[in-house]
Amino acid sequence: MKAPLSWLKDFVDIDISIADLAHLITMAGMEVEEIRILGLPMPAPGRVDARLSGLEWDREKIVVASILEVFPHPNADRLTLCKLFDGQQEHIVLTGAPNLFEYKGIGPLPKVLKVAYAKEGAQIYDGHQEGLVLTKLKRATIRGVESFSMVCSEKELGISDEHEGILILDEDALPGTPLADYLGDAVLDVKLLPSFARCASMLGLAREIAAITGKPLKQLQAPSQPPAGKADFAEIEITNPEMNPRFVLGLIRNIEIRPSPEKVQRRLKMAGMRPINNIVDATNYVMLEIGEPLHAFDYDVLVKSAKNKPVKIITRTAKAGEKLTTLDGVERKLDETTVLVCDQAGALSIAGVMGGRESDVYDAAQEVLDARGIEPQAGEFPKGKASARGKSTSSILLEGAAWNFINIRKTARAYALHSEASYRFGRGVHPALAERGVRRGLELMHAWANGEVAPGLVDAYPLPAKDPTVEITSADVKRWLGVEIPIKKMKLMLERLEFTCTLESKQRLLVTLPDHRMDIGEGITGKADIVEEIARIYGYDNIPETRIADELPPQLGNPLLDKEERIRDLLVAQGLQETISYRLTTPEREARRLRPDAPTDDQPYVCIANPIAPDKAVLRHSVLASLLDTAERNARVRERLALFEIGPAFRASESGDPSSGSGQGLPDELQRVVLLLAGPRSLPGWQPVDATPMDFYDLKGVLSALLDGLRIPAVGFRPAEHPSFHPGKCARVMSGDKQIGVVGELHPQVRGQYDWPASFRSPVQVAEIDLDVLLTLIPTLHQTEAVPTLPPVLEDLAVVVDENLPAERIAELIRQTGGKVVSEVRLFDVYRDEKIGAGKKSLAYSLTYQAVNKTLSDKDVAGLRARILRRLEQELGAVLRR
């Protein structure tokens, strides 16, 4: 909400600087996002949290002046020369302002015009440039006339975008007065959180300022009552009080529609609203001033529609298929939960959100003038010209109401109709304001548009506000805030916010809510609400910092997280870079990870009902797909890729959710570890390196070291087929009979579905591990073995076997036969040639024999070796190679 300082001062004296004021408001929960300076001294930047904008007017160089006479320019029709008085002397000033043309050459003005006069050297905005460009007034000669000063437009002063003519001040402005003193202002743009809806008005914000600064609130004089008498101009029927607790109507007749007073227009503009005419402006002014949005109906339209019967206003929800053309000219199909204000003929407006066109305040003159593209001038306002609807509105039926805020918010969202009214009604406006608002509205209309206020108000109030009473004690405050606040001090603070407080006993306070607050609950919630108010006014800064005195709960740690972090460490230690990806993607994007001829992924996706962009349609099925996307992008900037990611894949669940155990139909979140290697084993340097592309065994090595580091038991790799991988270069990763994951080289066709740069020719190695399974296999504890003190015996052993025999079987058998004595079996050569024979391969192992308790003799080793060879031969058909 934009709050002009001058308007706030209607309700509270403010004698602190703008910067201090903004700070106090911000600290109390109403964040000042921007301070726009209109002439007043600019706060020093760096000490203000808010953004600063606007222009400070030099007190010496920008002053009030009177234009005494306007002369034609000798060499230019579009320019005039003004004789003006700046409080000290007379000057001749050049201007092109069209709003001075009418005074050109008529001699000394009968009534001087008060204007804003900028002298040489004054800093203002350049009126001829787009946007806000600062400029300093310099001496110049324009068409043969010297010029060093100027009369300013609103744009040049930073008040508005208006640059059509110069700013004309009210008559009370004294020449020579610094303009900043006469017109200077500042607008605070305050961000109001949902619980601060009560502050969405000048009075509301001023009330908070009064409470924080300790200044008294200058109450608005109670708006005058309409003349006494029976209100017989309309009837009200509320069909659902839950939706519409109160509805108030007042009537004013014989008004004249014209522009509002300058000061009112200026205030509305500063508050971010466009002045329309005195009637519409009055409704907006009341809304900004006290927070009650009003709606003005053209009473004659309603009378005509009632066809000689009394005007009757009905509030009800829309009927099936009902339509209404709203103020913005859009015909809307109405939802059956939408609450409408109707007469007996049909809908007049969407309650609390937007009026209908038919019964809108109608300004025939404005329509005629708009059509010609001319702005009306004060004082020469044409009346009652002919138009489509006939004559201008002359009688106003003024509505003030209270609505159910949940329903209003829903309606505003459903039609995407976000108005100042729906903003306030959608957050809650107290029903007491309905009647106060109508009275204030009639008062302002009477003042600005003449007219006669009809006797009485029609007030239907079927569901009075509850305004709960909350009981609070010093102990409550101590329990929540940790600070002792004397009960009398609490009472004073709450009274500053207009709560009514009764001291029930020495320790107990009964707090009754003022009739502008909707945010305080009952019972323990009410207590918490009141404690918050006390804390805010007491000042969060004044509450001490303490260390938790409560007993420390058992420190259980999080073993699963510790294990997950251990996985990260082991992968980083092997030179892999961790990545974290967006989880939102598209099925098409993810499908690239599968061979084109493979069955499509038919698992149900978690689909976003309201995706913000087409490429964020679903939650990912595959972390592998995420990592491939990452590799694809990075292949343009890096030759060698070694990456991993740990995170969830998502599957929509029909049956329920095993992980939460709640059976709420929530999706499965399956945790995965994915590894990727591609590119040369080593990056080229100034000396030769192994630059062969990394292959299956590079990734298998990383994976084996990881599983070894985690002490996963009985790790094995079994040939496998998988729709992402090369059929000959893919393995299931096992621990015993449990599958942990899959590792392999990306299938050439899958690789081909990604957009690699031409320079990137390496195959891509990928592994995907089921983290949920892996975590269950990581032992919490493990035992160490003593460091051997006796010398080992080292020996090499080469055997020839069938090509198809998996190498792992040989090593396994050697280990099995060697038992504890064979402490290490390391394959160091795989060899094939004609001598060995077709379909055969030679595998050479280096064996370490190591006994714990004795030095092994040659005989010991020879015996063991013979047993190993015998079993290799008998069980695997291996022949010793000599």
Binding site: G46, V531, G575, E578, L584, I612, R640, E669
Partner: protein, 351 residues
């Protein structure tokens, strides 16, 4: 004979003076101490000497041999020194040539910040509790005191998941880590429903907002939330805890500031700021007025405590949330939040 011996010694010792390298040294050894050298010849001809001459000549000959041998050892030491010096001079490397690097693995910057937070919070008695990313409206909003249709929901623009027949309880991507508060409190309270144990946890994790992505706004980001529930937890404890945290994360002199705010699940609620550690609170182009917004916090709303299984008449608690990415951005001068999940190695390799 004695003269001859003297001559041998004089010649040999003078010859060794000109020896400069290993080869000349070896040649000298052969010439003067070798089998066919004059000295050795002389030893060989010993038998022909008279009985009287033998001891005199013999002693002298041994003296000469010893002198030559000593000269040889000394010279060979010198020659080796010279050779070593020469070879060292020749073996000079260009130390500015690049070294051979092993590829360095790195943790994602977000993980690095999270680990630091786990450690700091762990020392303060807060344990890590993780919970799901896809939630029901009930857990994400209703149980946290965001009633259906309440304007407070405007504060968190939400992704909804396509699901049918769920009425007011649709599936959503969690908009904050707070649904974990309810899950953790319920899990804890279930251990002893009549006297639920105290809770002190942090909840890290990814959250989602329906928001256009730009340099400052993400549709997916992570949060870490703290929760303390017990019989005597106060707002002053919350201030003390966060002040401690700020000092540990940002420096021991850093000040904290609490501004009143609103969150449906806490009351009183606050935003907490720290004094800008980039400018020392003087005001700079990052902080503006000398303070940096770090997170939101407050006392747990009674309704939320109740929903978690804790009687709000007997228990109080506080909760706070902060953004690991925000901390990383401030610390490392990262000016675009999109860098985090885009995984450009040119960014990740800087950590």
């Amino acid at each position: 004979m004695l003269d001859k011996l003297n001559e041998i010694q004089t010649n040999a010792l003078s010859a060794i003076e000109s020896v400069q390298d290993e080869a000349a040294l070896e040649a000298w050894r052969v010439a003067h101490l070798g089998r066919s050298s004059a000295l050795m010849q002389l030893f060989n001809g010993f038998g022909q000497l008279s009985k009287e001459e033998r001891p005199v000549i013999g002693q002298r000959a041994n003296e000469v041999k010893k002198a030559l041998e000593e000269a040889f050892v000394a010279r060979s030491g010198q020659v080796r020194q010279v050779a070593l010096k020469r070879s060292i001079e020749q073996e000079r490397l260009d130390v500015t040539l690049p070294g051979r690097r092993l590829p360095l693995g790195r943790l994602h910057p977000d993980t690095q910040i999270l680990r630091e937070l786990y450690r700091v919070f762990g020392e303060m008695g807060f344990q890590v509790y993780r919970s799901r990313e896809v939630e029901s409206d009930e857990y994400n909003f209703q149980l946290l005191n965001f009633p259906v249709g309440h304007p407070a929901r405007d504060m968190q623009d939400t992704y909804f998941v396509e699901s049918e027949g769920r009425g007011d309880n649709p599936i959503v991507l969690r908009t904050h880590t707070s649904p974990g508060q309810i899950r953790a409190m319920r899990e804890c309270a279930a251990r002893d429903p009549h006297k639920p144990p105290s809770v002190r946890i942090i909840l890290p994790g990814m959250v989602y907002r329906y928001e256009q992505v730009d340099a400052r706004h993400e549709t997916q980001f992570d949060q870490i939330e703290g929760l303390a529930v017990g019989p005597g937890i106060t707002f002053s404890d919350l201030k003390g805890t966060l002040a401690d945290l700020a000092r540990r994360l940002f420096g021991k002199n850093v000040r904290t500031r609490f501004r009143a705010s609103f969150f449906p699940f806490t009351e009183p609620s606050a935003e907490f700021d720290i004094e800008c550690f980039l400018c020392g609170g003087k005001g700079c182009n990052v902080c503006g007025g000398g303070w940096l917004e770090i997170g939101g916090c407050g006392m747990i709303h009674p309704v939320v405590l109740q929903n978690g299984g804790y009687d709000p008449e007997r228990y109080t608690g506080f909760a706070f949330g902060l953004g690991p990415q925000r901390i990383a951005m401030l610390r490392y001068g990262i000016n675009d939040i999109r860098y985090f999940w885009e995984n450009d190695l040119r960014f990740l390799e800087q950590f």
